[in-house]
C-alpha cells in the first residue's frame, strides 16, 4: 500500500493522484499505484527497456525515474495506444508481422516506436533500429519488429506496406 507523498500527473490523458513512498520509481507507481500494468519490469537497471514510457512525449525508462519528478507531467503508456475500438497501426502491424512472441518487451517496443513515428513519420530502417536500440528482445531477433514499425509508418502515411 502506498502512503506518503501525494503525486499528481497526467496518465494517458487523464489526471490521476496517488501517494508514493520517497524514492519510489515511476514503474512501481504506475503498476501498483495507478493500476497500469502495461509497462513491465525486466531488470530495474535501465538495461532492457521493457519499462519504456513517454514523458511529455519523449521516451524514458520508468524504472529509473523518481516518481516524484513526474508531478504535473504527461505520461503515456501502451494502455492508451489504441484510442478507440481499433488498434493503433503499430499494434496492428506487430500482430500481423509476428513482431512479438513472449510479448514481454512489446509494450516498451511500442512506446519507443511511437516516440519515433511522432517525431519522424517516415523513418529509414536505420532510424528504426536506432529508435529501438534501448529495448532488448530475447525472442524475435528484432527483424520482425523493425519490419512492423516500417509497415506501420507506411500505412500511417497512406502508402501500402
Amino acid at each position: 500500500m502506498m502512503a506518503g507523498i501525494p503525486l499528481t500527473f497526467l496518465l494517458n490523458g487523464a489526471e490521476i493522484g496517488v501517494f508514493v513512498d520517497p524514492g519510489a520509481n515511476l514503474l512501481d507507481v504506475l503498476r501498483r499505484g495507478a493500476g497500469d500494468l502495461t509497462p513491465k519490469q525486466g531488470c530495474a537497471q535501465g538495461g532492457c527497456g521493457s519499462c519504456t514510457v513517454l514523458i511529455d512525449g519523449a521516451p524514458h525508462l520508468a524504472c529509473l525515474t523518481l516518481a516524484q519528478n513526474v508531478a504535473g507531467r504527461r505520461i503515456d503508456t501502451t494502455a492508451a495506444l489504441a484510442t478507440g475500438p481499433d488498434l493503433h497501426p503499430l499494434q496492428q502491424a506487430f500482430m500481423e508481422g509476428f513482431a512479438a512472441q513472449c510479448g514481454f518487451c512489446t509494450a516498451g517496443m511500442l512506446m519507443a516506436a511511437k516516440a519515433l513515428l511522432d517525431r519522424v513519420p517516415d523513418p529509414s530502417r536505420d532510424e528504426v533500429i536506432e529508435a529501438i536500440s534501448g529495448n532488448l528482445c530475447r525472442c524475435t531477433g528484432y527483424e520482425p519488429i523493425v519490419d512492423a514499425i516500417l509497415t506501420a509508418s507506411a500505412r500511417m502515411q497512406g502508402r501500402s506496406a
Binding site: 503498476r31 513491465k40 499494434q91 508481422g97 509476428f98 512479438a100 513472449c102 519490419d147
Partner: protein, 607 residues
C-alpha cells in the same frame, strides 16, 4: 511480413497438403494481449497486502554454515517473518524424482553447507521489497570456507573437494554401475587402426544464461477453500506443482497453479524453485507473497545451460568417410543434478550426430562442481555436442582436403540406417538441408552430393546392421576417486564383446504404464524382451472411427533402458468418444491419450 520459404517439393509424398492450418501464416492467439499490454504475466495480478520475500544468499562457492543470526533482521521495520531451512517441511529433492529418476540431492534452503555462490541460506518476508532487501542485508551468517572446485576435470580427480555428499564421487552414477554414461557401437579402436587420418580436437562451451526479459517469479496466496493459488511463469506447471507438493508436504489437490504465460523462458523457467518458495511464504504468513528474482539473481542464481567440454576423435579414410568416432564429454551440472543426468542420456542417444558412422564410442560424465546448478536451454543436452561435432566436421574436411558440405553429405545418415544407440534412423533430412543451404549460399557442391537423397541408400548392408561391439568395464562408481582409473576417454582395450545384431544385457526398463504406450517394434534394431514392453503380436491400436494413420505420423516413443521418457501423444481421435469408454479410476498417466478418448480427458480429473 517476415518471409518463410516452404520447400514443399522435398519429401512431397510424405505430406498431406490438404491441411488447413499448417504451412499458412496465422496470427498468434496471444499477440493481441501482447500488443495491447493486456497479457497477464504472473506479476500482473494485484493482491491487497502483498508481501515481498527475498533470499539471503551465500557469497561463497563452498562453505559450511556455522551459524545464521537473524535476530537483528527479524526486528527490522516491515519484516513479517524470517524463514529458514527448518521451515521447509521436506527440504531435500531432485526435480526428476517426479518420474523416479535420480536421488534427492538438493535442499530448497541450505542448512549445513552451501555449495554454490548465491545458494539460498534463509529468506525474509516483509511489507515492501526495499524492507525485505534491508533485512536480508542484516542477516549475519558465519561460514567456514571450504575448498571449491569449478572445473569438470578437476572435480573428477581423487583429491577434489566433495561438493555434494549424495554423490560423493562428484559424478552421477549411471545404472548404479559407472560414473559416466557409455555408448558402444562396433570397435572404434579397430576403426582408428585402419583409418588414413586421425583427427582429434577439444571443444569447450561456457555456461549460457537464458536471460529471458521477465525474470523467474511467483505470487502465492491462500485461497478460501484451504488451497493456495500460485501465479507463476514456470514453463513446467505440473512439474512445479508436483515439486511444491513434495517439498511442502501438501496434497497436490490443495495447490491451484495458474501459469502458461511467461515472458520468455528458453529452459530457464523449469527448475521450480520460486513456486515452492512463494507457497511456503503464503503458508507461513497467511498472506499473499511474491517471490521473484531480480536481474542479478536471474544471471547469477538462475540455472544456465551448463558448460560442457567435449573431446572428439575421428578415424577418417582418404575419401572422407568417417569410419570411427569417439567422444569424451563432460557436463558441468553445477552443485546439484537437477535435469543434467537426463540430458546426458538424451545427448548420448544423439551421438554421433546426424551421420552414419560404423564405429562409435562415447563416455559422458555428469559432473558436480561448485558452480550454479545447470538446467535446460534450447536443444537441451544436444546443443554443445552438436556445436562440437560440426566444428569437428570442418576440421575433418580440412584434413582430407574436401568441401565441408560434400563431406557432410557423404557421411550423412539416411532413412533405415542403424544409429549408434540401436534404433533405425527415420525421417532423416540432413542431406536435403545441406543441399538447400548450399544453394542459398551459392556454395558449389559435387554432382554426387547434389544427387544424394535421404530416401535412398540407407539401411543397406552394413549401414543397416548392428556390428559386433567391443565393450569395457572401466570407470565403475568409486574407482576414479580412489585413484584406480585415471583416463576419462573410452578404453583403448575392450574387455568384452557383444555379437553382431545384439544389444547388451537388457536393463530393466521402467514398466510401460499404460497399454496404449506403443513401441514401434520395426524401428528397434535388436530383439527386445516381452518384459520391456514388446507387444505380444498386438496390432497398432487405432481409435474407433479413424483410419490407420499414415507412416509419416509421430511414432509412439520406445523407452530406452533405465529411464522413462515423457510419452508422445498418438494421434487424437477424430470423433468424440462414446460415453462410458473413459475410466477415471485408472491411474493418471501423464497426458497419454487412450485411443477412443477425448484428448481433453487425459488423467484423473474431478470437476
Amino acid at each position: 511480413m517476415t518471409s518463410v520459404e516452404f520447400r514443399k517439393d522435398i519429401f512431397a509424398d510424405e505430406r498431406d497438403d490438404t491441411l488447413k492450418e499448417i504451412g499458412k501464416p496465422t496470427i498468434r492467439q496471444d499477440i493481441l494481449g501482447h500488443v495491447t499490454g493486456r497479457t497477464r504475466y504472473f506479476d500482473d495480478h494485484l493482491f491487497d497486502g502483498l508481501l515481498h520475500m527475498r533470499a539471503v544468499r551465500s557469497p561463497h562457492h563452498h562453505a559450511r554454515i556455522r551459524r545464521i543470526d537473524t535476530d537483528a533482521a527479524g526486528r527490522m521495520p516491515g519484516v513479517r517473518r524470517v524463514v529458514t531451512a527448518r521451515d521447509v517441511p521436506v527440504n531435500l529433492n531432485t526435480l526428476l524424482s517426479l518420474i523416479n529418476f535420480g536421488r534427492d540431492d538438493e535442499p530448497l534452503c541450505a542448512h549445513d553447507k552451501v555449495r554454490y555462490l548465491g545458494e539460498t541460506v534463509a529468506w525474509i518476508i516483509a511489507d515492501t521489497e526495499r524492507q525485505a532487501r534491508d533485512a536480508v542485508a542484516a542477516v549475519r551468517v558465519e561460514y567456514e570456507l571450504l575448498p571449491h572446485v569449478l572445473d569438470v576435470e578437476e572435480a573428477l580427480k581423487p583429491g577434489a573437494p566433495v561438493v555434494n555428499e549424495v554423490y560423493p564421487n562428484n559424478t552421477f552414477d549411471y545404472h548404479d554401475k559407472y560414473d559416466h554414461q557409455k555408448l558402444r557401437f562396433g570397435d572404434v579402436n579397430a576403426g582408428f587402426a585402419r583409418a588414413d587420418h586421425i583427427v582429434e580436437a577439444e571443444y569447450q562451451m561456457s555456461p549460457i544464461e537464458q536471460a529471458p526479459i521477465e525474470t523467474c517469479g511467483a505470487i502465492a496466496a491462500p485461497e478460501q477453500n484451504g488451497r493456495f493459488v500460485c501465479h507463476t511463469n514456470t514453463q513446467a506447471l505440473f512439474f512445479s506443482l508436483g515439486t511444491t507438493a513434495k517439498l511442502l508436504n501438501i496434497a497436490s489437490s490443495r495447490l491451484h497453479f495458474i501459469g502458461g504465460t511467461a515472458g520468455g523462458g528458453f529452459g530457464g523457467k523449469v527448475d521450480s524453485i520460486v513456486e515452492p518458495t512463494a507457497v511456503l511464504g503464503a503458508m507461513l504468513t497467511g498472506k499473499p507473497v511474491k517471490f521473484a528474482w531480480d536481474r542479478y539473481e536471474e544471471m547469477q542464481v538462475g540455472a544456465p545451460r551448463g558448460g560442457e567440454r567435449w573431446r572428439i576423435k575421428d578415424g577418417v579414410m582418404r575419401d572422407g568417410r568417417i569410419v570411427a568416432r569417439q567422444f569424451t564429454g563432460f557436463f558441468d551440472s553445477g552443485a546439484y543434478m537437477r535435469l543434467s543426468p537426463y540430458a546426458i542420456i538424451k545427448g548420448t542417444g544423439h551421438l554421433p550426430g546426424p551421420y552414419s558412422i560404423p564405429n562409435v564410442s562415447s563416455n559422458v560424465y555428469c559432473v558436480v562442481t561448485n558452480r550454479t546448478p545447470a538446467t535446460a536451454m534450447r536443444g537441451f543436452g544436444i546443443t554443445a555436442v552438436d556445436f562440437s561435432i560440426e566444428c569437428h566436421m570442418d576440421r575433418v574436411a580440412e584434413v582430407v582436403g574436401m568441401n565441408p558440405i560434400d563431406l557432410r553429405i557423404l557421411n550423412a545418415y539416411r532413412d533405415g540406417d542403424m544409429k549408434a544407440h540401436r534404433r533405425r534412423a527415420k525421417n532423416t533430412a540432413l542431406i536435403e538441408c545441406c543441399q538447400v543451404a548450399a544453394g542459398k549460399a551459392d556454395w558449389a557442391i559435387s554432382p554426387d552430393s547434389a544427387a544424394a537423397s535421404s530416401l535412398r541408400g540407407g539401411g543397406v548392408g552394413e549401414r543397416g546392421e548392428i556390428p559386433e561391439t567391443v565393450t569395457d568395464d572401466e570407470g565403475r562408481v568409486g574407482e576414479r576417486r580412489a585413484g584406480r582409473t585415471a583416463d576419462t576417454a573410452p578404453a583403448t582395450r575392450g574387455t568384452g564383446r557383444i555379437a553382431a545384431g545384439q544389444a547388451s544385457a537388457a536393463v530393466g526398463a521402467v514398466p510401460v504404464q499404460n497399454p496404449d504406450m506403443e513401441i514401434e517394434v520395426e524401428r528397434i534394431g535388436h530383439r527386445i524382451a516381452a518384459a520391456q514392453g514388446a507387444p505380444a503380436a498386438a496390432p497398432r491400436a487405432t481409435a474407433p472411427g479413424t483410419a490407420t494413420p499414415p507412416r509419416a505420423d509421430t511414432p509412439a516413443y520406445a523407452p530406452p533402458p533405465a529411464y522413462a521418457p515423457p510419452p508422445a501423444a498418438p494421434p487424437a481421435s477424430a470423433a468424440p468418444p462414446p460415453p462410458g469408454s473413459y475410466q477415471p479410476d485408472q491411474p493418471f498417466s501423464r497426458g497419454v491419450n487412450r485411443p477412443g478418448t477425448s484428448r481433453f480427458l487425459s488423467g484423473t480429473r474431478r470437476r
